[in-house]
Symmetry: C2
Subunit: 263 residues, 2 copies
C-alpha cells in the first residue's frame, strides 16, 4: 500500500486537515460512507477481507482509533464482522447487500416488482385515550394526530395501519401530503425528528368485518396483527401504530442482534 492519502481528489465530502477549517462531516463518518459505497458498488464482496484498521488509517490520513470507530459502527450494523488476529470481513447477510439505509413498505414492494401505494383513509386530531396516552407517555386527553392508511401493492390492498402521533407541532401533519411521501422522511426533513428505535409486537389472528372490507378479504381471513411504538433519538415515543397485514400476501422481516435473540 502506498502511504499517500487518497482522499480529497474530486470527492464531495472531503477529509479536512486537522481542525483547521470547520469540519463538514466527522472523519469516521466519511470513512463509513466510503466503506458502505465499496459494498454497494461491489468493490468489496460478502466474505471479503477488508484492509486492516492501521492500513485504513494510513490510507485516509486518520488515526487508527478513528478508522476503528468507523468499522465498529458498521460491525454494529451487521455489515462487517471481526475475527481476532485475522481481520475484518464483509458479512454475508441479506441486510448487508440489500438495504443498509431504510427498508420500508415502499421499498419492500418495489423490490418484488410491484407498485406500492398508500391511501390515507383518515387524518385528524383527537384527544388521546388511555391506551394511546400510555404508549406515548403523555396525559390522557392531550391532542394527538390520528392517521389511518391503507397500503397497497399493484392496487391490491395489503395492510391497514392506524397510527397515533404526538409531538410539538404534530397538528401540521394534517396538511401534509402523506400519500406520496414517507412519514419517516417527512418527520426527519420537515420536523427535524430522528426515529431511532421501535418496539413491536406481532401476533396472528383473523380479520374482522371492517378490516376485511378494506383488505378485500372474506371475514375471518388469516392476518398479522402488529403494535408498534417508535422512539426518537431522545428516547421520546412519538408514534403508536396498530396494523393488520393480509396474511397470505405479506412477510414480515426482522434482523435480530446480540441481546435480542430468542431461542
Amino acid at each position: 500500500m502506498a502511504p499517500e492519502a487518497l482522499i480529497g481528489k474530486g470527492m464531495e465530502p472531503t477529509f479536512m486537515h486537522h481542525h483547521s477549517h470547520k469540519s463538514p462531516l466527522p472523519r469516521y463518518y466519511q470513512l463509513k460512507e466510503i466503506m458502505r459505497e465499496k459494498i454497494i458498488s461491489g468493490a468489496w464482496k460478502p466474505g471479503d477481507l477488508i484492509p486492516s484498521e492501521r492500513e485504513l488509517g494510513e490510507q485516509y490520513g486518520i488515526s487508527r482509533m478513528t478508522a476503528r470507530q468507523a468499522i465498529t459502527e458498521l460491525v454494529n450494523e451487521g455489515m462487517f464482522y471481526r475475527e481476532q488476529g485475522k481481520g475484518t470481513f464483509v458479512s454475508r447477510h441479506k441486510i448487508t447487500q440489500q438495504l443498509i439505509r431504510l427498508t420500508g413498505f415502499t421499498e419492500d414492494i418495489s423490490a418484488r416488482g410491484q407498485a406500492p401505494a398508500t391511501r390515507v383513509l383518515n387524518v385528524t386530531m383527537i384527544p388521546a385515550d388511555e391506551n394511546v396516552a400510555e404508549h406515548l407517555r403523555i396525559r390522557v386527553g392531550l391532542p394527538v394526530l390520528r392517521l389511518q392508511r391503507l397500503r397497497l401493492a399493484d392496487d391490491e390492498p395489503l395492510a391497514v395501519e392506524r397510527s397515533h402521533l404526538y409531538f410539538i407541532g404534530c397538528e401540521q401533519l394534517v396538511d401534509d401530503d402523506l400519500e406520496h411521501q414517507s412519514l419517516y422522511r417527512l418527520l426527519e426533513a420537515k420536523y427535524g425528528i430522528q426515529l431511532i428505535q421501535a418496539e413491536q409486537e406481532l401476533e396472528a389472528g383473523l380479520t374482522n368485518e371492517e378490516d376485511s372490507k378494506l383488505l378485500h378479504l372474506p371475514i375471518g381471513s388469516p392476518a398479522l396483527y402488529t403494535r408498534r411504538t417508535t422512539y426518537t433519538n431522545r428516547d421520546q415515543p412519538i408514534e403508536y401504530a396498530r396494523s393488520i397485514y393480509s396474511g397470505s400476501k405479506y412477510t414480515f422481516y426482522t434482523h435480530m442482534m446480540r441481546n435480542q435473540l430468542v431461542l
Copy 2:
C-alpha cells in the same frame, strides 16, 4: 464527587492497575456490568441522568475513553441514550427493565406466570435438502441435525419448532438433553459457539392437519409462521428453524434499531 477510586474493595471482578497483572476482564466490560447492575437493582431508574464520562473515569480510575466505550455499548443495546451537552440517561424501554440478558421462550413464559416446557418430538441426523443447505450455506447432502420440538406453557402446546443445525460435532447433540436445557446455552457452554445475530421472517397463516394435532387446535386455526436463520459471531449460519406459533396464545416481540426501521 470524591476523586477516590471506589473499586476493588470486596468486588469479585476487580479493576487492575495499569497493565501490571494479567487482566481478568477488560475494564470497560467491568464498568458495563457495574452499570447494568445499577439498573437491575434500581439504583438508576428509567429517565435518570447517569454520571458523566469524565466522572465515571475518575471514579473508577480509568480514562474517559474507556468509560465512554462502556457507555457506548450500553447505548447500542438500548439501555442508555445520550443528549449532546446534557448528559447520558437511562432509557425507558421495556428492553431496559426486563431482560438485558437473553430473553427466551422459557423466560417469556415464566414472566407471564406460566410453566414453560419443551418436548422433543424427534432428533436425528439427515442429509441436507436443497432448501436447508442453502440457508446453512453448505452442500446438499451433508449430514445435518434435525430437531423437532413442541413448546408448552402450563402443559398447553404453544408452538412447534423444526430446526436444522450444522457445525463440526453437531451429531453429538443427538445425545444431549434438549428438553431441560436451552439449546443456546448448550451451544455456548459445551460447543463454544456464540450466537450473535438472526434473520427472521414472519407471516400469518392457518394450521395444517399435522400441526393442528400437535397444538390441539382445530384445523385451519390462525397461526404465526416463522423462518429463522441464526448466525455465530463468525458469521456462520448455524441453525435454520421453521416454527408455527398458536396465534391466539403467543405474541412475538421485537425491538428494532437504527437501520432496521420499517415505516
